[in-house]
């Protein structure tokens, strides 16, 4: 659809996310990790996120460099804590990058369509659709309520909130939950009247299909692991 930009199947992106997590769980060698991150950066550039791609690569390389220097020191308290922190950044970075890639390059409809393809039960898909749909509204509602509280002089400053934390919670959540009850009813009405409960197989308009680039990504990742796995 968008010219010049590579489109990957959401399932491939999910795979990348899982790999990133796998790296976090089973700390494999730096080489595997570095290759994976660079690969992600390339994918980002190809998908039209060149800024993030380049910055990500530069950032990661500098982190590796700093980490190397820190590790070279003797492990006194100071260097140990610094070492832990830098390890934190280094190890988390692949996850954050993969998450960013997956989320910013995929439409909600594509996630939903691929879940349907993966045969997720409707008991999961429908609430998840509602979550995606409703979360921006909840956020907007939250700001409306905070504004309304300002007019009334309730919990305006941080100090007010610390003084009466539980009352603040009540004043935020009661209007939120009240309006949620109505929204749930309205959303039910609109979806039921459009046949959401039909027992026949639902069709899917959004295209999600494995294409050449998806196979290439899977192939490259598996190659990286085959070559450098564990090192």
């Amino acid at each position: 659809m968008t010219e010049g930009k590579m489109q990957l199947d959401p399932r491939t992106k999910l795979f990348l996310l899982l790999i990133a997590n796998f790296l976090l769980f089973f700390h494999l060698g730096v080489r595997t990790e570095a290759l994976f991150v660079i690969f992600l950066c390339v994918l980002l550039v190809l998908s039209g996120k060149s800024r993030t791609g380049f910055l990500g690569a530069v950032f990661y390389v500098s982190v590796l460099y700093v980490s190397n220097r820190v590790m070279a020191h003797n492990q006194t308290n100071f260097w140990a804590i610094l070492g832990l922190m830098i390890t934190f950044v280094e190890k988390f970075f692949p996850c954050i990058l993969a998450g960013f890639f997956a989320f910013t390059t995929t439409k909600v409809s594509e996630w939903i369509a691929s879940m349907q393809k993966l045969h997720f039960p409707r008991h999961i898909i429908i609430p998840l659709m509602v979550l995606f749909r409703f979360f921006p509204t909840v956020r907007a509602d939250y700001h409306h309520i905070r504004n309304a509280m300002k007019f009334r002089g309730i919990a305006v400053t941080v100090f007010d909130v610390i003084k009466q934390p539980f009352l603040t919670i009540e004043y935020i959540f009661v209007p939120l939950l009240m309006s949620a009850t109505n929204t749930a009813l309205d959303l039910s009405a609109s979806s039921l009247s459009r046949g959401i409960s039909a027992p026949t197989a639902h069709s899917s308009y959004t295209n999600v299909e494995f294409q050449l680039q998806d196979w290439l990504v899977w192939g490259s990742i598996l190659t990286i692991f085959a070559l450098y796995g564990g090192r």
Partner: protein, 483 residues
């Protein structure tokens, strides 16, 4: 197309009900349901689209069929193939986050093949003015655009019958015109259309029959001609809104002024959005008096909300000053002095009883008795605010503003979805605030309401503003200010 025999319904959880009624609606007919809030017109639409008794539970008796589907027996998805629905609130009726998926959602549910969906999509884009919206996200759209998408989404299901429940409630003048045009197209295509509505002026040429309901009962059935003959005062008695917007008279009220005139002077007000750096308001100068009620009008995105937020101290303008009686007010002082009654009042009620709500942070509790009496809240003091009707909630919010000594009271769309009676109540409420010497400003799309209520119009357009007293607006020309 639709036949109802002794059909009746009562809700499980509320006192509202629909008394037994007999009615048949022909194919290609356009029927308008009208009457006061709570008269049963929404209930009627819910029976036709099958949401009763599946979603709204209660006792359904009698018999009826809708395009061959049996009321009360058939599953709701069977209705979905015959009836397309549009609801009142544009914000809560879209189910997906993108325009395109929203349009095809119904077809996907009904298992329609992709090629057929494509074909329908092309057809729908030809009928509805939505082509430039297709690639957008639902959250980027204005209320009017969302409503148009909802209508188009119903059309995608290719139903024989359309059911519209107060579709114009949240729309501006121009979008209502557009809505009327779409209804006309469907009618021409031979669709059966049922509309529950408060605003009637845009339907008088479209509807074949008008069904007037009161307390769940059919009071009278009018043909188009008969209905057009009703005078404004006859409509008024029935609790209906005007049929003749183009002849709206400027109402020269006998304004009871506050004893002391005060002035709020806005000078050189400029505002840019922080993120995009885009200028919304440029060098506005405006003098407001507490002797008049001000209506702020203008099309979507012209900065009405921004102006209101600046006046009530929610945001700080990039440039400019606001003075009350010569004294410059800082943002924090404005916030203290003003109160915005939001379109959705639910956000601003916090307590478990009306009484506590009114006294929460009240700075002038000694006025309690007087305020309660003048806003007619005596009987509601022990109720939970959320169990009140929309109009009652609005009054509670205003009462709390008065008790906290607010000088400037702003309203955002105070009449969306109100019938004639409640609209007039809001109008009276404004008069009361004015007598108490408050500054009253409101943003509204509701032409009929503006004509009956305000004395000054502030028209925003292209970052600029023009101010008019209503006497400057030509006779018969009320709606021209929206063009």
């Amino acid at each position: 197309m639709i036949t109802l025999e002794q059909l009746a319904f009562s809700y499980e959880q509320s006192a509202q009900s629909l008394r037994p009624l007999d009615l048949s609606i022909k194919e290609g007919e356009c029927l308008v349901l009208c009457g006061k809030s709570g008269c049963g017109k929404t209930t009627f639409t819910r029976i036709i689209n099958g949401l009763i008794p599946e979603l709204y539970e209660g006792k359904l008796t009698g018999k009826g069929t809708v395009a061959g589907v049996k009321i009360g027996e058939a599953e709701i998805y069977e209705f979905a193939q015959k009836v397309g629905s549009v609801f009142q609130n544009p914000k809560t009726q879209f189910f997906t986050t993108e325009v395109r998926t929203e349009l095809v959602f119904g077809c996907e549910n009904l298992g329609i093949e992709k090629e057929e969906i494509e074909r329908r999509l092309r057809e729908t884009v030809a009928v509805f003015p939505i082509e430039q919206l297709l690639e957008k996200n639902m959250f980027q759209l204005s209320g009017g655009q969302k409503q148009m998408i909802a209508f188009a989404a119903a059309y995608m299901q290719q139903p024989d019958i359309f059911v519209l429940d107060e579709p114009s409630s949240n729309l501006d003048y121009q979008t209502i015109q557009l809505l009327g045009e779409q209804i006309a197209k469907l009618k021409k295509a031979g669709k059966t259309i049922i509309i529950a509505e408060h605003r009637l002026y845009y339907l008088k040429q479209l509807a074949d029959r008008f069904l007037w309901l009161e307390q769940g009962q059919i009071k009278q059935l009018f043909s188009q001609e008969e209905f057009a003959c009703l005078s404004e005062s006859e409509l008024h008695v029935k609790g209906l809104r005007t049929l003749r917007l183009e002849k709206m008279k400027r109402k020269q009220q006998h304004v009871q002024h506050a004893k002391l005139e005060e002035k709020l002077v806005i000078q050189q007000l400029t505002h840019r959005y922080q993120k995009k750096g885009q200028t919304v308001l440029e060098e506005l100068n405006l003098t407001l008096s507490n002797q008049a009620i001000y209506g702020i009008v203008g099309s979507n995105g012209v900065g009405k909300t921004t102006l209101m937020q600046i006046i009530c101290g929610l945001i700080k303008p990039s440039k400019g000053t606001i003075r009350l009686q010569g004294q410059v007010l800082k943002q924090r002082q404005l916030l203290k002095l003003s109160y915005l009654v939001m379109q959705d009042v639910n956000y601003q009620l916090f307590c478990e009883t009306v009484e506590k709500e009114l006294l929460l942070k009240a700075t002038e509790p000694e006025l309690f008795e007087e305020v309660v009496k003048s806003l007619n809240l005596q009987l509601l003091l022990k109720r939970h605010p959320m169990t009140l009707s929309g109009g009652q909630k609005q009054r509670v919010a205003v009462a709390s503003a008065l008790l906290s000594g607010k000088k400037i009271i702003l309203f955002d769309e105070p009449t969306s979805g109100l019938d004639a009676y409640h609209m007039e109540q809001v109008s009276k409420l404004f008069g009361l605030l004015q007598r108490k010497g408050r500054f009253v400003l409101l943003v509204s799309h509701d032409v009929e309401f503006l004509a009956k209520t305000v004395q000054q119009i502030v028209h925003l357009q292209d970052k600029k503003m023009t101010q008019k007293t209503i006497t400057e607006i030509p006779e018969n020309g009320w709606y021209t200010i929206f063009k």
